[in-house]
């Protein structure tokens, strides 16, 4: 029997999405039963050439995890798009840029300066930087080029489905796997998660009339396990984050970090979070408001932790 073909690829990512697929345990076996793997760098030894040889549209499904920030990743995104009938942005990095997307507060020159010169443990007196080509006696060596700006998968190629999460939870992967195995797919462009917010799924008791005089970090306070974290002055991204994780983090006393991205219909997750968090400040005095706002040390890193490349500005204006 001719099995359908499946490719799983990683671009700018940590590898956690691949591990999450393995975490589904028996579902991996079901996937392996239904599909023939043609690419999965973390688990199998296929070469890019093997993929290149495949005809257009010959891969049934590609799960693409990771953002795009190098020539190699961009090339593979195009190569896989051309050959795949269904291309899934798998995980927050592919969907919105994810943690690597925070690289958009700098650019290539800035990141190279930091990594290859400025860090305390780096000794690089000659200011050597990676090059895309170098000639050695044996011939020419090449490296993929590094981009100024991190992009989500759909900013590079057309993307059919989105599976958010850092990494996507096992329950969601099972749902995706079932849909792929049975072929009963939702409408193209769907985000495979809930349309509501994390707060809707969160079991904590909340005060609808929120008032916060002081924002605190987790290192400064032990949260009450039953009360809404925001009510306790702990910044939680639940109000403007898509549900689908069953409020995993708030359920174990950790604030939501926003990895599922914006809920349906929200243009800019960070701006919505900023709106929600700042409006609960309990003060009408300008100076006191300023003092409380100062306690939110890094609004960009907090509100755009997973989504800077997909935000309205996509990146910072100056570095």
């Amino acid at each position: 029997m001719n099995k359908r073909k499946l490719a799983i690829y990683w671009a700018a990512t940590c590898g956690g999405c691949d591990i999450a697929i393995l975490d589904t345990q028996t579902k991996v076996v079901e996937i392996a039963d239904a599909f023939e793997l043609v690419l999965w760098p973390i688990a199998a030894d296929f070469k890019y050439k093997d993929v290149e040889r495949l005809a257009q549209g010959s891969i049934d499904v590609c799960l693409f995890n990771g953002a795009v920030r190098s020539d190699e990743q961009e090339e593979l995104a195009h190569m896989l798009r051309d050959r795949s009938n269904v291309l899934v942005a798998f995980g927050s990095c592919a969907c919105f840029g994810g943690i690597p997307g925070l690289g958009n507060v700098s650019d290539k020159a800035g990141i190279f300066a930091k990594v290859y010169s400025d860090t305390l443990s780096t000794v690089n007196n000659n200011g050597i930087r990676p090059k895309t080509k170098v000639k050695v006696s044996e011939g020419e060596l090449t490296l993929p080029g590094f981009h100024d700006t991190v992009r989500s998968l759909d900013q590079v190629v057309e993307t059919d489905y989105y599976v958010p999460g850092c990494p996507p939870p096992v329950s969601l992967i099972n749902k995706v796997a079932d849909a792929l195995i049975t072929g009963e797919l939702p409408p193209a462009g769907s985000v495979i998660a809930s349309d509501k917010t994390v707060c809707d799924e969160c079991p904590r008791e909340r005060d609808e009339n929120k008032k916060v005089k002081e924002f605190k970090g987790l290192s400064e306070v032990t949260p009450d396990p039953k009360k809404c974290l925001l009510d306790q002055g702990i910044i939680c991204c639940g109000p403007a984050t898509r549900a689908g994780c069953e409020a995993t983090c708030p359920s174990v006393n950790m604030p939501c970090r926003g990895c599922f991205g914006p809920p349906a219909g929200i243009l800019d997750q960070g701006a919505k979070l900023l709106s929600a968090i700042s409006s609960i400040i309990d003060s009408k005095e300008e100076q006191e408001i300023e003092r409380i706002v100062e306690q939110i040390r890094d609004p960009l890193g907090t509100f755009y932790r997973f989504g800077l490349p997909k935000s309205l500005f996509r990146r910072t204006m100056s570095t």
Partner: protein, 143 residues
């Protein structure tokens, strides 16, 4: 209007009850002010989502003015305080994104302050003119 002079585009979100009425009064009283401002009326300054401000800048505005009732005078009691809180955190975010703070201004303008509306618009137009066009550098470094 000479063609080589930079004319800033300023989007003004004005609340229905105070600032929009203030702008109206400026018009009725024939107070002169620069034509650089495009007014969008909202019911309350508390309705102004930070997304509106970022979207305006992203879509071609060089500056954004938010007008609300004076503290204590909000038609809906507390909407303008919400606007103030959001504005304070938004300016901090703008610093991080690399947008000059002066491009986004929050001003309290009452229905009786037509002169003040004209003055705020004049000041803001000059401030933004000096800053120059808002360059969306992400276009240059999109990759």
């Amino acid at each position: 209007m000479s063609s080589d002079k930079f004319e800033p585009r300023i989007i003004a979100f004005l609340c229905n009850w105070c600032s929009y009425a203030g702008a109206d009064l400026a018009g009725i009283s024939r107070v002169q002010y620069p034509p650089n401002v495009r007014v969008i009326r909202v019911m309350c300054s508390g309705r102004i989502d930070p997304t509106f401000v970022l979207k305006a800048l992203n879509d071609g505005a060089d500056g954004v003015l938010i007008g609300g009732c004076h503290p204590g005078d909000c038609h809906y009691l507390e909407g303008n305080y919400k606007a103030m809180r959001r504005y304070k955190l938004l300016t901090k975010l703008l610093d991080q994104i690399g947008v000059e703070r002066e491009r986004v201004r929050l001003a309290w303008i009452s229905a009786g302050e037509g002169e003040r509306f004209a003055q705020v618009v004049t000041e803001m137009t000059e401030t933004v003119r000096e800053l120059g066009p808002f360059e969306r550098k992400q276009d240059v470094r999109q990759k």
